[in-house]
Amino acid sequence: MPVRRASALLAVVLAVALTVAANQTPTPDVVVAMPNKEGSLKFGVLGDFGMGDQRQYQMAEQIVKTWQAFKFPLMITVGDNLYGSERPQDFRSKFEDPYKALLDGGVVVQASLGNHDAREQKDYKPFHMNGQLYYSFKAPAQNVRFFALESTYPVPEQIVWFEKELKNSNEDWKIVFFHHPLYSSAGRHGSDTSLRQKLEPLLVQYNVSVVFNGHDHVYERIKPQQGITYFVCGSGGQFAGGDLDPKSPITAKGYDKDNAFLIAEIIGDDLTFNTVSKTGQIVDSGVIKRRGAK
């Protein structure tokens, strides 16, 4: 019967189509949160996110899902927290609304500023900058100190301050975050070599283990440079598909196919990290040993 044949054919086509679709749609990984142990320091890293658009909100949903499985109490931002206008309502639509669950859940956001951020953000309470463009703070767990820099305006006083803070820091882990990447294989901006000249000697000298940056709208983990691991986490809302140089010799792992953010956990001398895409795929993971660890 022609009708039966047509139905059978349709069923076969449908089955094939579903199979193909199932293979093409990324199956979200269950975010198995690393060790996810009591007493560890858990934190998230987010950059270049404050667009107020659908992409940012979708990424934010994934961040919330991840947080539900891996309750990080701290999130650092590597700048470009708000794009475009910064009217009061923008703070809501580009920050407070998308991350409401995190903020309501007590996640403390410690921000650094990017080139799209107005200076007034330093006074915006939920960013916990206490009116300072650059600052440092001791992490709520483990022996860790974070240093937030303001890389669009690296005045000599800031460099002097940074060296003093590093010198006075007794913490095992020194983690630095700011907007402009000292190393990046992205085509849009790439490595900021003049900033690198000023900062890298200090990072090396004072045993900084990890540096988080943004600015380029991709994810990239750089092969350790003089012992330091650099991350570009600039696709928290913005996205520059295909912007990474696939032949870059400095890339340890890159991801420029979708938005991503990073979660990390420190226990003793180990920092474990997962980089999670907008669809929940773990696109990079690993363990970094603290510099100077025995």
Binding site: S85, R119, E120, Y124, K125, P156, H189, Q197
Partner: protein, 209 residues
């Protein structure tokens, strides 16, 4: 053996005329005198640092501005550490209005006086012509659009990202009080009041695009 002064005068005049002809509309938004013409300025400023008196005069004018800003803003309620974005925004706009009113008669070049403009143009060009100048310039021009209209006492354009300042340029410029920052808008170096979001003054054509 000295070169006759008249020959130098002729040469400078010819140079000014010749280079002036290269531009259709030199420094459209900045009054330029023969004294601070960028073409001549470039030659003068590469000679070295500015006189101490130039920097002192600049600092004096900057401090005068800060005093004016503080006085103008004294009537405003001090922002608490718990200020909301609404309060921060309202405070900033109110401060801008008060400062702009208090210095309504100010002109471009009143803080960056001609000698200071000369120094700045020379400095920027010198840094950008160094070995890393190309990279520095691209970093500086990154998301830094040309052709944006700016004026003294205007609010810094909301949709324009802040330019990234090369550390070498910042290190060579006179230190500013906390209320102020140097930034580039296109190839213009502006003095930005970060509390009022106000363009205090600017120098045009600090480098060639």
């Amino acid at each position: 053996m000295g070169i006759p002064r008249s020959s130098i005068a002729v040469a400078v005049t010819v140079l000014l005329f010749a280079t002036g002809c290269e531009r259709d509309n030199p420094q459209k938004d900045a009054p330029v005198t023969s004294k601070n013409s960028p073409q001549l300025v470039e030659r003068q400023a590469t000679i070295g640092s500015p006189d101490r008196s130039v920097v002192e005069e600049f600092n004096r004018r900057v401090n005068q501005y800060v005093l004016l800003q503080q006085q103008a803003g004294s009537s405003l309620k001090k922002l608490s550490t718990k200020a909301t974005p609404e309060e921060i925004d309202a405070n900033q706009r109110a401060l801008l209005a008060l400062v702009a009113k208090a210095r309504a008669d100010i002109k471009q070049g009143d803080i960056f006086v001609p000698d200071m403009q000369t120094f700045i143009r020379g400095l920027v060009r010198r840094v950008l012509s160094g070995p890393d100048g190309g990279k520095m310039k691209s970093s500086l021009m990154d998301e830094n659009p040309m052709g944006v209209k700016i004026a003294v006492n205007d609010r810094y354009p909301d949709t324009i990202p802040l330019s990234t300042m090369p550390p070498d340029i910042l290190a060579a410029l006179p230190k500013l009080p906390d209320e102020l920052e140097y930034r580039f808008v296109g190839n213009r170096l502006i003095l930005l009041d970060t509390k009022a979001h106000l363009i205090v003054d600017f120098v045009s054509d600090t480098f060639d695009i």
